[in-house]
Symmetry: C2
């Protein structure tokens, strides 16, 4: 390796430090220098509507790959080979945790059914379509050496949207509905794709019968529910421990450390018992921001809010840099052994299938949702459907990681290597194309009404109305809530409200339950234990900012 | 491996997740669970004068090692094998960086000559003594297979004090002088030992002549000065970038990310060009806290202050847990192949040498310092000397890491393995014994005068006097400072002051230089660029807290 040789030739003190493997040190130096450059460029192009940090990182990674390739005279471009473990163990968890921690919970839960519908059924539709089409089309191109399992894996691999890049092109403040649906779908979709992928890998094709599909559904439901529960339990446990033991008394570091470690532990524990770590840590993040975050000292609140965001930011940038540099790994391209024509044909087929696979569920499901759920008057307009389709077309690191998992290995054919290179082309192209055009597209398609559509303002209003309605007889009724049955007029009105405005009512009932049973045990806003040196006014301001 | 087998036997969904290597997941789960338990226990024993987090972690690690040993039926106790790379690449940098970032700069620089004297000459004295005695004593025990290089390495290995544990037993507020000297010495000492160790490894024993010692001295000075400079440059660069590009305008995450990445990069870059990364990142931390920290937004200031402390805290706890668990690695003990008697004899010899080696320089050097530097009236009393000796007796992860580096490997003898196990015994014993007794000892030896001895209060007073003296003609003289030569009376007085009170005057002159040349370029307190949303009052309060 060229860098390695360079360091060997350093004349001065080369023998005096022997503690490290020099190639590791070089790789880390190069990577962190590139990260620095990425962050600075990202800052400078912040106001540019076409570029963003992901694209900068990806392009910079590609450039670095070219430079390394030239220096090493085409012999090798590996500085760090893409490593699934690094990705799934260390880079993905902070990103997903932070997403849960910072998500606007009300929007997320309001659109929960939509998110689930898109994330689960949508992904399955996309998976079936891509697998089926790939099976017929790729054989026609002349790639014949793949088996059924490989095609099913391709379907799962290409159904995994890139929620990281989505976060960067959609704005939580400008288009809250789109953001919460597309991003929420992204998280559920990641989990669904990974479950599908794992199911495909463990499927015994000699024994396929009618029960297989049912088993898959059962497995999925089991995974979804238990993973979510595990995340909620981990979050509640952290809240309970911090509230009971009152860490802030001695050291704020311990509070932050416990939050980080318990969140990460929930992810690893979920993976240990073969659940979906992504779902677990996402819900752990949500619960932590709702309870735990309010139980810590004011310093810890600020530290966690910005510290988690920074960790996530570094991991995201790192991933794109990594994928960019990895794309030019010459060994992979050599072992794929395919003509440029075949390579282009396969890549463009896969690229087309990604577009088609997503279109096949976004438009139908959105219209079904419009038909069924139109009583609250919030239809998903065609323009919004278009953005939903477009913003979910990016493929990212999960796709690359799953592709490596399926197709790399010593005893794999050259056609498996071709699948890896084609996947990388799809990932790089989709990130560059869709990533750069989405922001301007949203501005063009939805010029000004973006803010008024499905925004929080109307919700707050109706929630306020509801609260007034419920409490019209004064606060003293709170004690009698349990025997509401004796007061037919009020029950009738709340029942009518539940029918006419279901999500708001559910939210209201949840708030009551939360205030009465959950917060006294687990803390949370308004139930914070007294911590000296934590000015309450400031804490409340921060709480408003984060929720 | 038992855990591995356990997971294979899990009946339900064992095949559905194949993304990870299960033993990695298990190891991470066990480690992070233990970390959680450590933090909780550490919180509960906070007010206990005998225990602290390090001891808790070490004991918990030992217990976990026993449990794993029992479960795996003595076949193997490896969950994570001690890995030098993990330690030097990922765990040590955040600890040392945070130490520099949070150190009380005035105390540190005031005692700089003392720190250097102890850290450099002291370590060299200890190294020579331990090597020499080990050479004669260990041969007498019956261990004959080690060569000269090994004995010199033992000297370097056992001269590396554990600055991490020292931080926990000494209090920066109660005994500021002792803290700054013992801790500062610890950092310099780590660097010295590593330099000595590397020099020993690269030494060509066929060509030893009078120049060798001179070369060693030259190498050391070169390393010390260039490493420090590199750290200072990295810190100033980060301050300059953040001040010029004004990151806070768009995102506070980028500021924090740039600080973390540049600090880490300085460490890795120092290692890349074979300098001492520890010294570099320590001074980078000091410069960052003096300039960069004041250039970022108020949120970032809080986040970095507590975030870095948390990172360091987690790394420290992790290290002790790690050393504890590693101590019971059965393979190591088997391959050492020594009788219990030999093992005990070697360990206790080494333990005694550690005590002797430190006594051999603390008391003489402290008395030399008292003789030479007694004009400012701050003699190091015998009680303080005793604490300085005692608090630096703990050996920690650096010792373990260097020992592995020297003595592990496939082609090493059983006596090399014996050296590893003996080193581990010394580390565990010294941490448990000295770590638990130091806090009560300080209370016993220095009951109440701890606070008044060499505290900051007197310094501030004399600095204030000096300032009044310098500025007695009013602020308008500032412009004429460069041609001070025309004003003999004032020059005479400042010269007299420089003689009578050198460190305070140097500090005062530095402050003037800093205010006139450095801060306008690199920012810092009082030269912060205007950042919207950063309340100045609060920022100043924070600044006072941190400096």
């Amino acid at each position: 390796m060229a860098f390695h040789e360079t360091i060997q030739q350093l004349p001065s003190l080369q023998k005096s430090s022997s503690l490290f493997n020099p190639s590791t040190v070089i790789a880390i130096c190069v990577f962190f220098t590139l990260l620095c450059v990425c962050i600075i460029i990202g800052h400078l192009v912040e106001e540019n509507r076409w570029a963003n940090e992901s694209i900068t990182a990806l392009l910079l990674g590609l450039c670095a790959g070219v430079v390394v390739l030239l220096i090493s005279k085409s012999s090798s471009s590996k500085i760090l080979v893409f490593n699934e473990d690094l990705f799934f163990l260390y880079l993905l968890p902070p990103i997903i945790f932070n997403a849960g921690f910072q998500v606007k919970k009300k929007q997320f839960f309001k659109n929960f059914t939509t998110i689930l519908m898109f994330g689960v059924f949508g992904t399955v539709i996309s998976f079936c379509l891509i697998s089926l089409c790939a099976f017929y089309l790729i054989k026609k191109i002349g790639v014949t050496n793949l088996d059924t399992k490989d095609y099913l894996a391709i379907g799962a691999i290409l159904s995994a949207t890139d929620s990281v890049c989505t976060l960067q092109v959609l704005s939580q403040d400008e288009t809250p509905f789109l953001y919460s649906v597309v991003f929420g779908e992204g998280v559920v979709n990641d989990a669904t794709s990974i479950v599908l992928f794992n199911s495909v890998q463990s499927l015994d094709f000699n024994n396929v019968d009618g029960l297989t599909a049912l088993k898959l559904v059962g497995t999925f439901l089991y995974l979804f529910i238990t993973s979510t529960l595990l995340g909620v339990v981990a979050g509640l446990l952290s809240a309970f421990i911090i509230k009971t033991l009152y860490f802030g008394r001695h050291s704020t570091d311990r509070e932050v450390a416990i939050m980080i470690i318990m969140a990460y532990l929930s992810y690893m524990f979920a993976e240990l018992i073969n659940l979906s770590g992504i779902l677990t840590i996402f819900f752990c993040g949500i619960v932590m921001s709702h309870y735990t975050w309010h139980n810590v000292t004011e310093s810890s609140r600020r530290t966690t809010k910005h510290g988690f965001a920074t960790m996530s930011f570094i991991a995201e940038t790192f991933i794109f840099l990594y994928v960019g540099m990895d794309a030019l790994d010459i060994d992979k391209w050599k072992s794929s052994n395919a003509s440029a024509g075949t390579s282009v044909a396969v890549s463009s087929t896969l690229f087309g299938l990604v577009l088609l696979g997503r279109a096949a569920f976004v438009f139908p499901l959105a219209n079904i949702k419009n038909l069924v759920g139109n009583r609250d008057g919030t239809k998903i307009k065609f323009r919004q459907q278009f953005i939903m389709w477009w913003a979910g077309l990016m493929r990212g690191a999960i796709t690359v990681a799953l592709s490596y998992n399926q197709f790399s290995g010593t005893n794999k054919s050259s056609e498996a290597a071709l699948m890896i290179t084609s996947t990388i082309i799809v990932v790089v192209l989709s990130t560059l194309v869709f990533g750069s055009i989405t922001k301007p597209l949203i501005k063009a398609v939805m010029p000004s009404q973006a803010k008024s559509l499905n925004s929080d303002v109307t919700d707050n209003q109706s929630l306020e109305d509801l609260r007034i309605l419920f409490l019209e007889n004064g606060d003293s009724i709170d004690d009698q809530d349990n025997n509401n049955g004796n007061q037919p007029p009020r029950r009738a009105s709340s029942f009518r409200l539940l029918i006419s405005n279901p999500s708001t009512t559910v939210h209201y009932l949840w708030r009551k339950f939360d205030d009465r049973f959950m917060r006294p045990v687990f803390g949370g806003r308004g139930f914070v234990p007294y911590v000296p040196g934590s000015p309450t006014g400031e804490a409340d301001a921060d709480a408003d900012e984060a929720s």
